[in-house]
Structure formats: C-alpha cells, structure tokens
C-alpha cells in the first residue's frame, strides 16, 4: 500500500455553559461587581468566604452575610512560572490561599508579584479590582503585595 499524507488540523471543542448562581453565590458575585467582598457566618461563628449555602456542621441554610476586608494574609501559595492560556494572569504569578481580614477561612485566588522571591507565607496582600467588574470571580483581577510585609 502506498504511503499517504497524514492529515492534521486544529480543532476546538466548546461547551458554552451558562450557570445559575443561586441566591448565595449570586449575592457574592453581585457584591464583587460593586467592588465589595461578602462572606457568610456559619453556625460556629466563623465567617466563610466565598459564602457557603449550607452550614458545614449542621447543614442548615445560611443567610447572615458579612462584608470582609479587601486585604488579607497569604496562608500558602504556589508559584506558576509558565502561565497557560486559560490562567488569569499571563505573566508568572502565584496561586494562593488568602485569608481576608474578617474571614476565618482562606479563599483561593492569584497574586501578581514581580518574582517568586517577593512572596512568603504570612505576606499581606490586597485586592486589585478589574477595570469593568461584571459579577464574576475575575472581578478580583488579582491580589498584590500590600506595602511591606510584617
């Protein structure tokens, strides 16, 4: 059998999902659009950000929203030296667990920093808002180091 030109082409498969947020996540995203961050108070008094719909201990519905600060502390982090196309930042950055002031649990987001050496656990970071917030987690464009770390 004679040989053949093997064919190859780019191919994109898209799943264009639209998701309903529900009232709790919807309120969180609505607050983000107004450049505020809201958590929710659990039955043990902890403030959870992003808010959970149901209590992690009792499973009761939660509804006591609490606004938290726009600065926080890096609990742990991981440097991404080669960002991929789908990543929120296209220059090297860190994924981090950040405990916002007034919150009792950390939330994951990204930190823009000049290099890996500038970051450490315990570093103080602050929100940089997107230019045009739209009710999405990316309304927090990223976190940045807040002044001099303690």
């Amino acid at each position: 059998m004679t040989d053949v030109d093997v064919l190859s082409e780019a191919f994109e498969l898209g799943f264009t999902y639209t998701r309903s947020t529900g009232p709790v996540m919807g309120r969180f995203l609505t607050a983000l659009r107004d450049k505020r961050i809201e958590g929710i108070r659990a039955s043990d008094g902890r403030v959870i950000v992003p808010p959970m719909e149901y209590d992690p201990e009792t499973a009761a519905a939660l509804d006591e929203f609490v606004e938290v600060g726009q600065e926080g502390e890096v609990m742990s982090w991981c440097w991404v030296s080669e960002p991929r196309r789908a990543h929120p930042l296209q220059q090297p950055f860190a994924w981090a667990m950040i405990k916002l002031d007034g919150a009792d649990v950390a939330m994951i987001h990204c930190i823009a920093a000049t290099d890996e050496a500038a970051l450490h656990t315990g570093a103080r970071v602050k929100v940089r808002w997107a230019d045009e917030p739209r009710g999405h987690i990316s309304d927090i464009a990223c976190f940045e180091l807040a002044g001099v770390a303690p």
Binding site: M1, S8, T16, S20
Partner: protein
C-alpha cells in the same frame, strides 16, 4: 456607561457564563488519512482484516476484534442499509439542521460495521431498520477531507435487508448476494 447599563448593573447577579473550550491538534493517523483522501475524491473506503475478513469504515488501521493491522483497502458502495436510527426532535444550539430529522447507523455495502450519517429526502415515519438507502454527494468541486461531502442518505426502492443480513451484504449489494 449609559443609563441602560446602570439599570442593568443594579439587578442582582443570577447567572454567569461558564464556557469550557478544549483545544486539540487533531491528527488523523495513516489509516483515517487514507480514508479522508479517498473521501475527497468521492469514494468511501474501508479496510479489511487479514484475519477475520471484516471490513471496517472508517478504518483505524487495525482490527478491533483480532488486534492485527488492516492494510487492504476496499472501495465501498454508495448504497447502504439502515441498521438503526433515531428521529431528533430537540434543537441543538449551533446545529443548522432543523428538527425533526433522522440520524442513522448505516452499513455501506461491502462493509461490516456501521457509521452515523443523516437520512433525509424521506418520510420520517416510514424509515425502518433494514431499509436500503444511498449516499447523496455534494457537487464534486465542493469535496473536502470531510464526511459531509455526503450531504445525507436517501431511501432506495429496493427490498429490505433482513436483520440477520444487515452488515453482511457484499459491495455489489443485493445483486451480489448469493
């Protein structure tokens, strides 16, 4: 920002777009590439297993039953038999075909396995398993390395194929059936 946008901005967020895009570089491989080259020339081809003699379309380069390479290429017929089918009533976003329409598993004469294609130019309610159909090709100048060189299949005025013979007709179809 216009007043409309301001009004919209005051509405609580209730939904979000969450698309997922998967980017591939699809490489067909040697056997499917041969199939696609033949398709561009207006021919349906399969490959025969040297062990069990089954003919596969589209060819993958090996026999799924025997696990051995298939390199004998076979030109198949434009005629085929309906092995199974479904009538689609639900519109799929982005699909230009208007429901209701028929998607069928079709076995071309000379092959022993079915592929999926559209069945059209027919009365949907009269389509049935064992029905004889033939390929309707696009004009030759539009042929590309694509299965939709065949627009759809349409019914033939031929006797039905009994279920036990579906997938067993030779490339000559009923004419070659001993």
């Amino acid at each position: 920002m216009s007043e409309d946008n301001n009004a919209q901005a005051r509405e609580p967020v209730t939904g979000m777009d969450a698309p997922i895009y998967l980017q591939y570089q699809f490489t067909a491989g040697r056997a499917p590439s041969r199939f696609l080259h033949a398709l561009k020339q207006g021919r349906l081809t399969g490959q025969r297993c040297p062990g069990c003699s089954q003919v596969y379309i589209p060819p993958r380069g090996s026999c799924p039953a025997c696990g051995i390479a298939t390199d004998e290429e076979v030109t198949l017929s434009n005629k085929a038999t309906v092995q199974s089918f479904t009538i689609v009533y639900i519109p799929i976003p982005g699909n230009p075909i208007k429901p209701p329409y028929i998607v069928a598993n079709l076995v071309p004469d000379g092959a022993n396995i079915s592929f999926i294609h559209l069945l059209s130019d027919c009365v949907n309610e009269e389509v049935h398993i064992g029905q004889r159909v033939e390929a309707v090709w696009k004009p030759a100048q539009e042929w590309d390395y694509k299965m939709d060189n065949i627009l759809y299949y349409r019914p033939l005025e031929e006797p039905d194929v009994p279920v036990e013979l579906i997938g067993r007709l030779p490339v000559e179809g009923w004419e070659g059936q001993a």
